[in-house]
Symmetry: C2
Subunit: 239 residues, 2 copies
């Protein structure tokens, strides 16, 4: 039996303020919950409406009524599995492989998709500005499809990080070297900018190579979505 105060507590973790106050975040969905349980993340508590699951995973797993789960869930149709995990302490960022740097992504779906892409392309570290959408936001986690278990997202002073990393810094702009002619070094840092404003002036100055994705023919579209642009550039980096 899950009490009202516990439901209220879990629900409060949908807000960034409470996530960081308690150093806890929530994911939903069987696959994602299981991936996080099997990862280095520390489990705080798991709730499920699935008795088989509760009995097979004894540690910290509690059976919950569908009505109670609905009250703590962020989903309009909860899927029966909700996990609460501890926010990990940031680890040192290794500079031996590619790093993706996000200059203030605002949309949770875009950040989630970029985390999933980094996982696909074997990039283990993302650094972001402190104004970036929080990577433990429920909508971000939903879009990562469990990839948050394998990609570390660290808030940094981005200008400072780029200055001290001593790696080539590639940035995506509306003009620059075509991405398929960029001759990427290994490792490097790829900077992707905000959905509306692109890469800020301060960060632009620290980019050592400007790259672009050419559009085809007479298209008058102004830009690609940042997640699809990241997909194309990471594909070229790993090609």
């Amino acid at each position: 039996m899950v009490g009202k105060s516990q439901i209220k507590f879990i629900k409060s973790l949908q807000q960034k303020k409470y996530r960081y106050e308690h150093q806890l975040f929530v994911v939903e969905g069987k696959k994602t919950v299981q991936e996080l349980m099997a990862s280095d993340f520390e489990t705080y508590k798991i709730y499920s409406t699935d008795l088989n699951f509760v009995e097979s995973e004894t540690y910290n797993v509690e059976l919950i009524k569908a009505d109670d789960l609905k009250k703590m869930s962020n989903l309009s149709t909860p899927n029966g599995y909700l996990g609460v995990f501890k926010i990990p302490k940031p680890k040192k960022i290794p500079l031996q492989d590619w790093i993706v740097a996000l200059d203030t992504i605002s949309d949770p779906g875009n950040l989630g998709t970029i985390i999933r892409l980094c996982d696909w392309f074997g990039i283990k570290n993302i650094v972001t500005t402190t104004n970036n959408v929080d990577c433990f936001n429920p909508k971000v986690l939903q879009a990562t499809m469990g990839s948050i278990a394998r990609v570390q997202v660290t808030c940094v002073d981005l200008a400072d990080f780029l200055k001290t990393a001593n790696l080539p810094v590639y940035g995506a702009f509306m003009s620059g070297t075509a991405v398929h002619q960029a001759n990427f070094t290994n490792p490097g840092i790829l900077v992707m900018g905000n959905e509306s404003n692109g890469i800020s002036e301060e960060i632009s100055k620290l980019v050592t190579k400007r790259i672009t994705i050419n559009h085809f023919g007479a298209s008058t579209t102004e830009s690609l979505n940042v997640a699809t642009a990241t997909a194309i550039i990471l594909h070229e980096i790993r090609r």
Copy 2:
């Protein structure tokens, strides 16, 4: 002054049933509304809270109170511009350039992003199954960022279309030729499958070349998001 029945009518167009009954659809946002007004789409009615806009665009544009706009808008924060346009009659699909075929995309954001990508890569025609999410769904249109003005989306009997088009049919699968080694012919058809189930068995049989996007290193992610996968493949087709 916009009457209650008119507000109710516009609001009803958020539902597919009423869109097709009246052959009308709604877009919001200054840029998208303007792009559609300047395109081949036929304008039914434009509403705006912006007096300058209303006075500069005389034809079929009506000043509306913010309160009334909020009642007919699909957005939680309406942005001041709402356009109602006629659903165009489907035109013949030319077979001289690449076509993207969607085997039942469910997520409006994914379809909108794919339409925007096709625009970027100069692909003017998308064909879909009849069960695909409707391209005039408000969330799809929001994600296209105006690209719907330049890309035609046509519902077809997909199996029939592929059989009679007499073009090479490329399909994205979990295994196949790596996308950067696919030697794409020009023109061709690219089939992308459903978010959960991929390309259906019936359509799979009509694919003449299976392609895949390799993941990098030890990643255990199961798949890429369909819109990001489409981005990478279209980039390779036009590379």
